[in-house]
Symmetry: C2
Subunit: 243 residues, 2 copies
């Protein structure tokens, strides 16, 4: 079998968010990532796979293709046996308790992917993203977050409105904040992380009660601030370590 | 002025480690990174800059070029005013005390760049890399580590030999290790982090005394292990937080 012109056109279009939203589909590639997603609550639309990819799903969901055809539709440097079109699930109910991470305008797909994995690791089941944050169904995010994408509930939301309404304690990483190693951190709260270049915007900052800082141990004052994903790693570790 | 054929050939060759070692030069690009390196102990060889890049170094070190020529030699998607050729410094004396990070075969330039920034942040002045670890003068590492590259001493070394000879306590991240949140960590020691896919090799593992683990809080056992850079972030934070 081969790929129809129409299928090929849809697959190409899915590199753009507006077409992912129109078709309610996203792409995942490679044996490991596709297997993780197949074993999750996600629904598969079509699986394009070479002959020696064996998997226990109804044959009518699988389109067997040649290595050459896979090469054509793949976005990876070295395509790996399978490309899946998965259905974007409907938004889940917002979780109102527990530890929540909120991202304002995080741009880099690799950073979002890493943060989704961190949420999964540290048992943060709700991740909030401002509307300007990179789309979690962007293929680079899918590949970086792997199966974690299906275990963390990700909601795109008006952060300003959410924070105005929420009664949970709110936290921001800020150089002038309290030393996080000396802070009593609660079990529940919202940790807000900002854009790679600009941090958290002023309009959001005024809504946040608690400022915490990760102390710098190097003597050099020129040291770049920590990357948003590594700062999230350290702060989530601090929130969780005493419980 | 424009770029000579010979210069252009050298610049292109520097994407390969063997030519960086032959010419003892590496590339850094963009206003921010180049400025940080110019303000460090590194020596500049040649700076290729467009007319409106102003900088206080001897004019004979600067070759003024057009935006179009910069485009030709740049490895960035959007070239940013300047590309510098810097001299690779000679190896510094190995530091034998303090907290040391050692990497075995870390492949991804982004991960190495992030780890160099983390060492800088947490005051780790000596980073050891196995010979198979990605070269720290790879341009992606340079761009990701920014000025931190000049503040952390990075030495490529036979790790097995080093660990056999060292008398410092040695630590490895291992799922079966002691909960790091409950461990007494010393001021001095060597933290060894492994390759992205395979972790630390058996021949190195047998030389390491202490196993520590970052507990997983998510309930799902399928959660991917943490990425090597985020795990390093959390562990360095734990080593430093009580001092």
């Amino acid at each position: 079998m081969s790929i129809s012109k129409n299928q090929s056109k849809i697959i190409t279009s899915l590199s753009q968010k507006k077409y992912r939203q129109k078709h309610k589909l996203f792409i995942a590639e490679g044996v490991k990532v596709v297997n993780e997603l197949l074993n999750s609550s996600l629904e598969i639309d079509t699986l394009f796979a070479v002959d020696d990819f064996q998997i226990d799903i109804p044959e009518n969901k699988i389109t067997r293709i040649s290595e050459k055809d896979l090469q054509k539709i793949s976005n990876l440097k070295t395509p790996n046996k399978v490309l899946g079109l998965f259905k974007i699930p409907n938004d889940k109910l917002l979780q109102k308790n527990g530890l929540i991470v909120a991202l304002e305008d995080v741009n880099d797909p690799g950073n979002l992917g890493t943060i989704i994995r961190l949420c999964d690791w540290f048992g943060v089941s709700q991740l909030l993203c401002s509307k300007e944050t990179v789309d979690c169904y962007n293929q680079k995010v899918v590949q970086a977050s792997m199966g974690s994408l299906t275990r963390v509930s990700i909601t795109y939301i008006d952060l300003e409105m959410y924070l105005t309404a929420s009664t949970l304690p709110t936290f921001i990483a800020d150089m002038d904040g309290e030393n996080v190693y000396k802070s009593q951190l609660p079990r529940e709260g919202v940790l807000i992380m900002g854009n790679e270049a600009n941090g958290v915007s002023d309009k959001i900052k005024v809504l946040i009660k608690n400022k915490i800082s990760i102390p710098r141990f190097g003597e050099m004052q020129e040291t770049e601030s920590l990357n948003v994903a590594t700062a999230t790693a350290i702060l989530l570790s601090e929130f969780k370590r005493s419980f």
